[in-house]
């Protein structure tokens, strides 16, 4: 059955149950062809199960998997033009590197598999290791072999199951750049599963944040970061300060954590139309400033006491205890502004348009 490669993946109400446990709860997802897509979430959120269902290694309990116009739900792993870079790499220990990389091509009966495999090895800069065994290679090299072994088949979709999890930080950063370069070179759709938010944001054009088997929010990294739809997303992607509020009139909210409530201005465009109960105002640490001198009237203003100071070089991180006991985190760039001392009383302020409003978690 010859088909035109599209690389466009669509999941329709895809579910996976294990007895009573629902691993994936009817997700709908469109992954456009040629994109670098990340499935991000904490362990146990169903992201790996979703990936394995796309690979054909796990069977859906319900729903469909579409590759372009074809329903591939009922096909088996070896029949799908989808390849996986496994978390443990899963390199065949009894085969040489070149035979590992050529494994898929030989199954596909590609005549010049050897030269194609060598090309793929050259792409990951391991051509000189072709005749060695996997165990003779370092972790980072094995990772690159696993990538070459998958990519050499020119699958419609490449699945990456936390492929950088076993690497140390420096190597991981290098590989992130490498993966992005390769993806733009070959133009295959990449679906990358990870629990590392920084990794997902650095690499992917689109990120889907998963939680308890469903997709919590989907969008470009900047969009997710600046406009998280839920408290979960706000906390999973970086740090956030969340304050319980109630809207009392357009553009003004009152903080409900204290009585009498403190009034603060809220930008109307940040308020979601659908939620009205249990609202929280969220603000990222790097968007909070220490006010020196007066604060403009249309800016929020909170007073607290510095309870912790840590200097990181690039910036100074503060913990500020507010009057109702909540600790606010804020990051002050090392741009020459004067630093606050431990125990000092400070005033915090931010641009209301940089804040966001989410419902209770």
């Amino acid at each position: 059955m010859q088909r035109i490669a599209t690389g466009e993946l669509r999941l329709v109400e895809l579910s996976r149950h294990y007895g009573d446990f629902v691993a994936v709860d009817g997700i709908d997802l469109d992954v456009p062809a040629g994109s670098f897509f990340a499935l991000l979430g904490p362990s146990g959120c169903g992201k790996t199960t979703t990936l394995r269902m796309v690979a054909g290694l796990e069977e859906p309990s319900a729903g469909r998997i579409m590759l372009g116009a074809d329903d591939i739900t009922n096909t088996r792993a070896h029949q799908r033009r989808v390849n996986t870079v496994f978390q443990s790499y899963a390199l065949f220990p009894h085969l040489s590197i070149i035979d590992n990389v050529g494994f898929g091509l030989r199954r596909l009966k590609v005549a010049d598999w050897k030269s194609k495999a060598m090309e793929a090895l050259a792409m990951v800069k391991l051509a000189d290791r072709a005749n060695q065994r996997p165990r003779q290679l370092s972790g980072g090299m094995q990772q690159r072999v696993a990538l070459a072994r998958a990519i050499v088949n020119r699958p419609e979709i490449l699945l990456l199951d936390e492929p950088l999890g076993a690497l140390d930080l420096k190597l991981r950063r290098e590989m992130q750049i490498e993966l992005k370069r390769i993806q733009s070179e070959v133009g295959i759709t990449f679906i990358h599963v990870t629990h590392d938010q920084e990794e997902a944001m650095t690499m992917a054009d689109t990120v889907a944040v998963m939680r308890d088997g469903h997709i919590e929010q989907l969008g470009a990294p900047a969009e997710l970061y600046d406009r998280p739809a839920t408290a979960f997303v706000a906390n999973f992607l970086g740090k956030s300060n969340l304050i319980p509020i109630e809207l009392i009139e357009p553009g003004v909210a009152v903080i409900t954590a204290v009585t009498p409530g403190v009034k603060i201005p809220v930008a109307p465009q940040t308020i979601p139309a659908t939620i009205s109960e249990g609202l929280h105002l969220g603000i990222r640490p790097e968007k909070v400033h220490l006010a020196s001198g007066g604060v403009q009237d249309d800016r929020p203003q909170l007073v607290g006491q510095v309870s912790d100071v840590s200097f990181t070089g690039v910036s100074t991180d503060y913990l500020v205890r507010l009057e109702w006991g909540q600790e606010f985190t804020l990051t002050q760039p090392n741009d020459g502004t004067s630093r606050a001392r431990l125990g000092e009383r400070v005033t915090l302020t931010w641009d209301p348009k940089q804040a966001f409003v989410v419902g209770a978690d």
């Binding site: 070896h78 496994f86 390199l91 065949f92 494994f103 898929g104 596909l108």
Partner: protein, 272 residues
């Protein structure tokens, strides 16, 4: 002086396990060395227990004692067939037991374990009881049945351990790389399990070739295996040629493993 003693003691402590290990190896080797030395003996009378004179006689006339070489041939044949059958059906069972969850799996594991937990004399006598009850004449077939039975459990256990230690992601990777289930089995699963299967087969052969007790219950009057031959000869004095066979088997086993090792290390050297 005192420091010399304490240095010696410290050295002894540090190397104690090596010294003990080597002593135990020597203990294990001792009877084999005796067997080898006495294969060159020219004993006085029938008993090959006291050193008399060096001679190649037994080595140049291996098949001189009546019936001995036939017995060795029979044992080799039985060992090969029993190991082959036990390895095939044992490997199949091991895969089923490791790779599938099904009702009765625990019972099956227990059933596999029981023959290992049964003294040979009980196994031999119960098989004989059955053969008598159904009127089967003892012979090569009954010996084979018995040998396959007691080697089977060892094969299953050995292969099971190997298969259980294999990363299931490897087979998934094979399927992911377009291998059909049968290609995945023959190109990935089987080569990875092969060392365990080979070890199981070798163990099965060794156990079969070595067995006296079970065999003595199930052998017919004309099916004298090598151990039975030795047992029979032991009463009146074992011929020197028995030591020759023992030596050949011992050195043969070491040679096989050494060759396998050599191939393995040459391979990795070429790759390195």
């Amino acid at each position: 002086m005192g420091s010399a003693i304490s240095t010696a003691l410290r050295w002894l402590r540090k190397h104690a396990i090596i010294i003990i290990g080597l002593l135990i190896i020597a203990y294990i080797m001792l009877p084999n060395i005796v067997v080898i030395i006495f294969s060159f003996n020219q004993p006085v009378g029938r008993r090959n227990g006291i050193w008399h004179e060096f001679s190649f006689n037994a080595w140049t006339h291996i098949c001189a004692p009546a019936g001995m070489c036939d017995a060795v041939g029979l044992s080799l044949g039985i060992g090969v067939v029993a190991a082959l059958v036990a390895t095939v059906i044992g490997t199949m069972a091991a895969f089923a037991l490791v790779r599938y969850r099904f009702r009765g799996r625990g019972t099956t594991n227990l059933l596999v374990f029981f023959p290992m937990a049964t003294p040979e004399v009980v196994m031999g006598s119960s098989l004989l009881t059955l053969f008598i009850a159904v009127g089967v004449r003892s012979g090569i077939a009954t010996i084979l049945i018995a040998h396959i039975l007691f080697t089977l459990s060892f094969v299953v256990t050995t292969v099971k351990a190997r298969v259980a230690s294999m990363d299931p992601a490897l087979e998934q990777a094979a399927a992911d790389l377009y291998a059909t289930p049968s290609q995945a089995f023959w190109r990935v699963t089987f080569p990875l399990a092969a060392p365990g299967i080979a070890a199981g087969a070798l163990l099965a052969f060794a156990l079969s070739f070595d067995d006296y007790i079970v065999t003595s219950f199930n052998a017919g009057p004309s099916t004298i295996t090598f151990p039975m031959y030795i047992w029979g000869a032991a009463q009146k004095g074992v011929p020197v040629q028995v030591n020759v066979i023992g030596t050949i088997m011992f050195l043969g086993a070491i040679a096989i493993v050494a060759i396998a090792q050599g191939i393995g290390s040459r391979k990795s050297k070429v790759e390195a």
